[in-house]
Symmetry: C2
Amino acid sequence: MYNISYVDGIYQNYENSKVNINDRGYHFGDSVYEVVLFNEGIFYDFEGHLNRLFDSLNSINIKFSFSKQSLKIIIKNLIKINRVSFGSVYIQVSRGIAERNHSYKDMNIKPLLSIIITKKQNNLSDEAIGVKAITLNDNRWARPDIKTTQLLPNVLAKTKANNKGAFEGIFIDSEGYVTEGSSSNIWIINNDNEIITRAIDGKILSGITRKSIAKFADLNDLIVKEKKFRKEELYKSKEVFLSSASSFVTPIIEIDNVKINNGEVGEISVELRKLYFKNFTK
Amino acid sequence: MYNISYVDGIYQNYENSKVNINDRGYHFGDSVYEVVLFNEGIFYDFEGHLNRLFDSLNSINIKFSFSKQSLKIIIKNLIKINRVSFGSVYIQVSRGIAERNHSYKDMNIKPLLSIIITKKQNNLSDEAIGVKAITLNDNRWARPDIKTTQLLPNVLAKTKANNKGAFEGIFIDSEGYVTEGSSSNIWIINNDNEIITRAIDGKILSGITRKSIAKFADLNDLIVKEKKFRKEELYKSKEVFLSSASSFVTPIIEIDNVKINNGEVGEISVELRKLYFKNFTK
């Protein structure tokens, strides 16, 4: 029994977890979302994710009346009802239900909140498994910095990667620089052991896990630099890894059929993964 | 009584016209759509819209099992049930319902068809009312040529236009050329009475109304040219108009506060509007 969702004020079983087809999230992708991992009552970066949800809502001018506190209560309640110990919380807020019209000017509509709990295989192992990736042109809209459901390019990128036996698709901007993965931030480690990721420059999402990793690395005297790097630098890096709410720190050991670190999981990536877990389990 | 929709095989009243929150259209904008106008049994460009729906489905690899013929039967039935004489048909097909995962590789899911009928004010008047427009940067993803529900940029553009007292937002690409409107194609008429619109070059949708207008103009010895034009050319054009399934040919008489044709509806725009109607009413 872990199939109860929260939809517009009501706890519903799977069959009844539905929204009206006139929801603007369905017609236009006019909605924002967050994913948070949890393990036996511990949420990974709960505050960070909820804060970003409200930032996203503000960015596209959705007037949402819930407080962070009430969201937390609903989420904890929903996890309890579903009796899940390890899993993810998916939170989506759409602009609401209205007769289809691109413009939302003067529309008096109520945003619609839906929350889904998914039970997952516990992957909180310090031992990181290396994954493969491919690169592809970043063909997303100009505001990937807002966490909206404009995700078809990401869907197509991830599927293309999977079809090629890879785990992640890495977007490359029109100037040849890495932006981010289809559902992750991308990091490299150079021969000076500098840990490098692109700055929050409007072309990537402000990753919550990304921010925590940078903080924990810094606290442990590792050198983190925010700067753009090219696709070619990926191939030549000492280590490459991705970060995301559900993959934490995951080493990338092959990109476009080029082996990274001889196809082995790198030491610093593993250290960062451990640091990340450590900070949420004390 | 015009509130019956078709959702995944069933004719539903408004309250029950719902999709599961795990529909990929809701989570990712992983869906395509069409809008068709109708008036007392006459559909405007029915074949063209249905053909494009199947093109869109193919473009993002959604395996849809319905035939054009069965879609037509459902749509006609739905209009009859709703007893609407003038209105629009909205058709959406999503990839289907599945546990949230970006990749759809190996997912055995059934596409979900929903159809909504909307009663409209009959706007089939030969007398065109001129509208205002604004320009803004084209910030959409790189595949606006596919009619998907990745429409948040369009939503934001149309709302911005409305907030400025304008009807339409016109997208300008990074090189300063007009691409298209937030929900229309854009045309100019120069001093040689040439009717000009951007070619189908991957940066605009292949407008069905656009295609019909070009055909009818050509049949009536008007000169139609497909080429890119700059924002500055818009301001200086003899006439400017937009075309769409629901606005047909609609003159634009002011752009960014610059009057076009002294703020008057132009003759050739009106002629094209008449030609369009004439061809669907014989």
